[in-house]
Every structure is written in structure tokens, then in C-alpha cells.
């Protein structure tokens, strides 16, 4: 005689197994997502098209432009000769920014304190504009320092170094975030849908008339998805490591431990949604609203939480992905251990248990309400 939740679990595995299309999606989805995020939605900049209006036309100014493009961040796609050529270049999307070097640039360089170099930027893509301004600003700062250093010894020599992600590679930043989002997607979305499906097809009615307890249904139905979610988590990490060379500095077992904790919280959230939802359609939409969107937008995965309005910052405190992001970035990129991460871990455990408790209470073994 096997426990009832095992019976439900076995059946659930059969459902998954006999539906190869869904299974394929579950396995392929994370890989497609990481591929898209990793390549297409990169936050790195490369080869930004700029135009140069060099009114000085001296060896110094040409040397400066050469230095600007040497970095690989910029390519000169328009050699401008007059201010009137700037706007058509912007409108024709030939350039994103234009640098105007004034007359007498080389002459004033050694005498004047202020040389007005003008930068014009296409603001219609604000992200790109901000990044471009920052890069070019930094370039001129460095360039000025070089010039000044020849004149006097600069008191401060600021040399920035980035730790853990020295090249500031987007993939390093995105892969851990994807693990958080996809695990949430699989756990919450699929579990809420699978419970709603039984309600929709009427099989729930048949199960409920047996002496089963609500906890047995919940445990049995969700367990198989833990496996799927963990498999996906591993797939993303391995894929990121192999394809994008994202480092993995932490201990794999530690990673597995945290993944299980997170899955637990995600599943609880999925069950919480499905406890009263009657159709798959509503379950899917509710799961999108409550799990996927916050995980993408409010977890700090893409947008930094500190720059959000206060209300959203407050909401972000109950987004499990936020905590898991802290954990997984630390484990993957920094290689830190348990001791540094007990706080977010505790939150995930408490939050998950609370939701699970409420769900089991709310899940009724009848068709009322």
C-alpha cells in the first residue's frame, strides 16, 4: 500500500511524460530564454556609431579621435564637414552621437583651461544615450588627465577596478537572474495550471470523493515540478558557463541547496494561487501577474531596485526572486558560502511556509466556494 501522495505524484509524472510537447517546452524554454537574453538584450555597448565634426583638422585632434575609437566602443560612421550635416545624419540614423571639435583645439589645448568640445546625442533611445554620454565623458576625463599630467602632477590618480565581473559582461549578470525567473515560471505557473486543469476537467471531483486530505493532493501534485525546476536551473547554469563563459565560483552542492529552498517558495506561491482558481486560463494569468512579472521587473534582475519609486521598492520586499537573486549572484560570481546568505535564505523559507500553510487551509476537499 503506497501513501496517497505518492499515487498522485506517479500519476502527475505520467501526465508530464505523456505530453511530450509541454515537456519539450519546459526543457527548451530556459535555453531559448538565456540565448535571447544573453545575445539580444545585452546591456554592453559596442561600436556605437558616431559622427565627428573636426573643425580643427590638426594632427592632435585626429590623434584624439583615434584614441576615442581605439576602445572599440565607437566607430566613426560620418566624417562631417559642417554643422548643417549633423541633423540629416541623426535623422538618417547614420549616427547616434556627434562630437564637435572646435577651431584652434590643438592651439588652446596647451594654454586654455576650458576647451568647449560639444557632444550631441540622439535621445530617442534613452538607455543608449545615457551609456554613450557616460562613456564619452569618461573618455574626455581620462584624456584631459593625460594632457594635464604632462603639465603638472595630478594629486589623485583614480584607477577604477571592477570585481567579480571585471569586464562588466551582461551575461554574468543575466544568467543568475534567469535562473531565478525561470524557476519561478516553471514552479508557480505549472503547478497552478495543473491543479486548475483537474478542476476544469472534473477529475478533481472524482479525487475529492476519496478520503484524501488537501495536503496529500498538494504535495503529490507539486513534487514532480520540483524536479523539473531543478533540472532547468542546472541546465541554465551549465549553459551559461559553457556558452557565455559565466563563472561559477561557489560550491555546486550549495547552489543545489539554495535552488531547493527557492523552489519550495515558488511552489508555495503557485499553490497559493491555484487553491481557489477554477480554470487553467485564470490560473495562468494570475501566475503571470503574481510571479513572472515581479520576478522579471521587481527583483533587481534588470532594473536596479534602488532607482524604483518607494511603493515598488516596498513591494519588492515580498518578491522571492529578489532574495534568490542576491543568493545566486553571490554563489555564482563571488563564491560565498552559507554564512553570508542566511538572511535571504531564512526569508524564503519563512515566506514559503507561510504561503503553504495558508494554501492547505484554503484548499477545500469539496466544491464549495
Amino acid at each position: 500500500m503506497k501513501p496517497r501522495f505518492i499515487a498522485i505524484m506517479q500519476k502527475e509524472f505520467i501526465h508530464i511524460w505523456r505530453d511530450p510537447r509541454s515537456l519539450t517546452i519546459i526543457i527548451l524554454l530556459p535555453l531559448v530564454m538565456i540565448f535571447l537574453y544573453g545575445y539580444a538584450i545585452t546591456f554592453d555597448i559596442k561600436e556605437i556609431k558616431i559622427g565627428i565634426l573636426d573643425q580643427d583638422r590638426s594632427p592632435t585632434s585626429r590623434e584624439m579621435v583615434r584614441q576615442l575609437t581605439k576602445s572599440g566602443y565607437f566607430v566613426v560612421t560620418a566624417d562631417l564637414h559642417d554643422r548643417s550635416e549633423i541633423e540629416p545624419a541623426f535623422l538618417g540614423r547614420k549616427i547616434v552621437a556627434a562630437v564637435i571639435i572646435p577651431d584652434n583645439f590643438s592651439r588652446d589645448l596647451n594654454t586654455s583651461f576650458r576647451i568647449p568640445v560639444q557632444l550631441l546625442v540622439d535621445g530617442s533611445n534613452s538607455n543608449l544615450a545615457t551609456v554613450t554620454i557616460n562613456y564619452i565623458k569618461t573618455f574626455f576625463l581620462t584624456y584631459s588627465l593625460q594632457i594635464n599630467a604632462r603639465l603638472l602632477n595630478a594629486p589623485i590618480d583614480m584607477q577604477p577596478r571592477v570585481w567579480y565581473n571585471p569586464d562588466l559582461k551582461s551575461a554574468n549578470f543575466i544568467a543568475p537572474g534567469l535562473v531565478a525567473v525561470i524557476m519561478m515560471l516553471i514552479c508557480a505557473l505549472l503547478t497552478s495550471a495543473t491543479i486548475a486543469r483537474e478542476r476544469e476537467t472534473g477529475t478533481m471531483e472524482q479525487i475529492l470523493v476519496s478520503p484524501i486530505r488537501s495536503a496529500e493532493i498538494i504535495v503529490g501534485k507539486t513534487f514532480p515540478y520540483i524536479f523539473l525546476a531543478i533540472i532547468d536551473a542546472i541546465a541554465i547554469v551549465v549553459f551559461a558557463w559553457v556558452v557565455f563563459k559565466v563563472p561559477f565560483r561557489g560550491h555546486p552542492l550549495l547552489f543545489l541547496f539554495f535552488a531547493v529552498v527557492y523552489v519550495y517558495t515558488c511552489l508555495s506561491l503557485g499553490i497559493f494561487i491555484s487553491a481557489r482558481v477554477k480554470t487553467q486560463q485564470v490560473a495562468l494569468m494570475a501566475a503571470q501577474l503574481v510571479t513572472t512579472l515581479p520576478s522579471l521587473l521587481l527583483s533587481g534582475f534588470i532594473f536596479p531596485i534602488v532607482s524604483m519609486p518607494k511603493v515598488l521598492q516596498l513591494i519588492s520586499y515580498i518578491v522571492p526572486a529578489k532574495y534568490f537573486l542576491v543568493i545566486i549572484r553571490s554563489v555564482m560570481l563571488k563564491g560565498v558560502g552559507m554564512a553570508a546568505l542566511w538572511q535571504p535564505t531564512l526569508f524564503l523559507l519563512v515566506f514559503g511556509t507561510l504561503l503553504l500553510f495558508i494554501s492547505v487551509k484554503r484548499f477545500k476537499t469539496n466544491l464549495e466556494g
Partner: protein, 305 residues
């Protein structure tokens, strides 16, 4: 007399709709009890209350002496419920469905396989043991649903319109299985829209607007019909029925298969004359007219009007 199902003053409303209105009903142990009534009378609601899927607003019910509200899980361990809608897993095979329900009811493993074999033989589903449920015909699905309901050998069976959408051959087979179960002492409460199925029950009850109107043995039901009833056999019987109805000379004119049942308070001889003259005017040949005893359906229709 021991009762296996006692329902006392049970009421249930959904919003402003009263589904059950102080319904009282007793079903004897080992009895096959038929529940008939129009759509929306409260049949499904009653069965769902008995298996704890709905909670009654008022009243109480006992199943094999156990309070259905207080000890729902105990009750569920010895009842079998078959919903109107086919509710098994289409992607699971016949055997997988049966084993799943056996495990839900905690049937010991060895016992499970013995019962599986017995039920497969019983329902003649043996050759289809590995077929997925979605590929079964309507009749086979019903038998599989019944087999899954029987796997924990329930004392009480609650069946909600088990033969809807099933062809006559499968229907007969299904009812012979039910008769066998009854022979084994299982108490059966079954709802049905078929009057010929009602006639196979030990007792039947008419339910209407959430109340029981009449409870009796099927053979006793026709005596409730208080009018004179004639069976008319004629050509073009459907046309004839319309002419007779339009003449407004009779209490009721109903089509039963290829015959018409005409009821009236008047003496039979007078009614016969009236029928003949009406149909003669319409040029319809009468083959025979004879007084008959009312059928369950006559009473059913009469009770509801």
C-alpha cells in the same frame, strides 16, 4: 428495516436559487433506488451533498449510520460516487486509472491486483487494459468509471445519470452489472432520465424543485394516475397527436414510441368515440384503441403539471 442512507430535511441554496428545499429521503440497505425528476430538480446537488462535495445549508444526513457532515472522510472511505461527467484521466490507460483510484483509497497492493482482475472481467474491459481512456467508446468509458468507483468495494454507490450518451447495448450491459452489484448487497442510489431504467429499481422517488413528491415501488407508481388512459395505435401518429391536442377535448396526449397515450376524466367509451371522430376528420386511420395502465412516465408528466 435498516436504512443505509438517511436524508433529513436537507436544504441547499446557491445564491437566490433553492436547489434542495427540506428534502427527506431514506434508502434501505441493499436497495437499488432510482431518483427521477426534471432537469434542475436537485438530483446532482443531492448526490454531491451525500459525498461531501457540497455542504448542506440545513438538515443532516447519515450514510450507513455515520454522520455525513461530521465524519466526511470516514463516509468517503465506504461510498463510491460516479459523477455525470466522465472524470477519469484521458491520458492514463484503463489499468493506470484503476490502480490510481485503488491507491487513493489505500487498497493494499496484493488486494489491488486481485480486484483489478475481477473488475476487468466483470466489466469486460480486460482486452482494453492498456488502452488510454480517451480512446475508449462512450459505453466503455462508463464501465471504466464504474470500475474505478468500485475498486474500494464501497457499501454505498451514488451514480449520477450513469447511462447518458450511451448506446442501448452498452446501457443494457451496464444495468446488468448494476443488478449484479445489488445482488452482492451494495446499496445503490441512481439518478436517471430513462423511465425504463427507473422501472428496474426496487423503489423510485420523484424529485421536483428540491423536494421529493412521491416515493414508491415502480409497480405501485401507475396507480397514482387518476385518469382514464387509452393507448392509440394509428398511422401518422405524430400528426394524429397534434390533431388530438388541438381539439382540446382530452386531458393530455403524449407520444410513446409509435403509440399515443390519451388521458381523460371521461369514460373510455366516450373518449374512444371522440378520438375516432377527430381523426376521421383529419383522414387518419385508427388501427386500435385500448385502455392501458399508466406507465411511470405518464405519472411523471402528470406530477409535474
Amino acid at each position: 428495516m435498516t436504512y443505509d442512507i438517511n436524508i433529513v430535511d436537507v436544504s441547499k441554496r446557491f445564491g437566490s436559487t433553492v436547489a434542495l428545499d427540506g428534502l427527506t429521503l431514506n434508502v434501505r440497505q441493499g436497495e437499488m433506488f432510482g431518483l427521477i425528476g426534471p432537469d434542475g430538480a436537485g438530483k446532482t446537488t443531492l448526490l454531491r451533498i451525500l459525498c461531501g462535495l457540497y455542504l448542506a445549508d440545513a438538515g443532516h444526513h447519515l450514510l450507513a449510520g455515520v454522520d455525513g457532515r461530521k465524519k466526511m472522510r470516514t463516509v468517503r472511505s465506504f461510498i463510491g460516487y460516479m459523477p455525470q461527467r466522465f472524470s477519469l484521466y484521458p491520458d492514463l490507460s484503463v489499468a493506470e486509472n484503476m490502480r490510481f483510484f485503488a491507491d487513493l483509497f489505500q487498497v493494499p497492493h496484493k488486494e489491488r491486483e486481485i480486484r483489478l482482475q475481477r473488475l476487468l472481467e466483470f466489466s469486460r474491459l480486460g482486452p482494453f487494459i492498456d488502452r488510454r481512456a480517451h480512446a475508449l467508446s462512450g459505453g466503455m468509458k462508463q464501465k471504466l468509471a464504474l470500475s474505478c468507483t468500485l475498486i474500494h468495494t464501497p457499501k454505498i454507490l451514488l451514480l449520477d445519470e450513469p447511462s447518458t450518451g450511451v448506446d442501448p447495448v452498452s446501457r443494457r450491459e451496464f444495468w446488468s452489472i448494476l443488478a449484479e452489484l445489488r445482488g452482492q448487497g451494495v446499496t445503490i442510489l441512481v439518478t436517471t432520465p430513462y423511465m425504463d431504467e427507473a422501472a428496474r429499481c426496487d423503489r423510485i422517488a420523484f424529485i421536483h424543485k428540491g423536494k421529493i413528491l412521491v416515493t414508491d415501488e415502480p409497480t405501485a407508481i401507475p396507480s397514482l394516475f387518476k385518469k382514464n388512459l387509452l393507448e392509440l395505435h394509428c398511422r401518422q401518429h405524430v400528426m394524429a397527436a397534434r390533431f388530438l391536442e388541438q381539439s382540446r377535448a382530452f386531458e393530455s396526449v403524449k407520444i410513446f414510441g409509435d403509440r399515443l397515450h390519451v388521458s381523460s376524466h371521461k369514460p373510455n367509451a366516450q373518449t374512444t368515440r371522440l378520438i375516432k371522430s377527430t381523426l376521421a376528420a383529419a383522414n387518419i386511420d385508427v388501427i386500435s384503441i385500448k385502455p392501458v395502465q399508466a406507465r411511470i412516465e405518464d405519472v411523471f408528466v402528470e406530477l409535474l403539471q
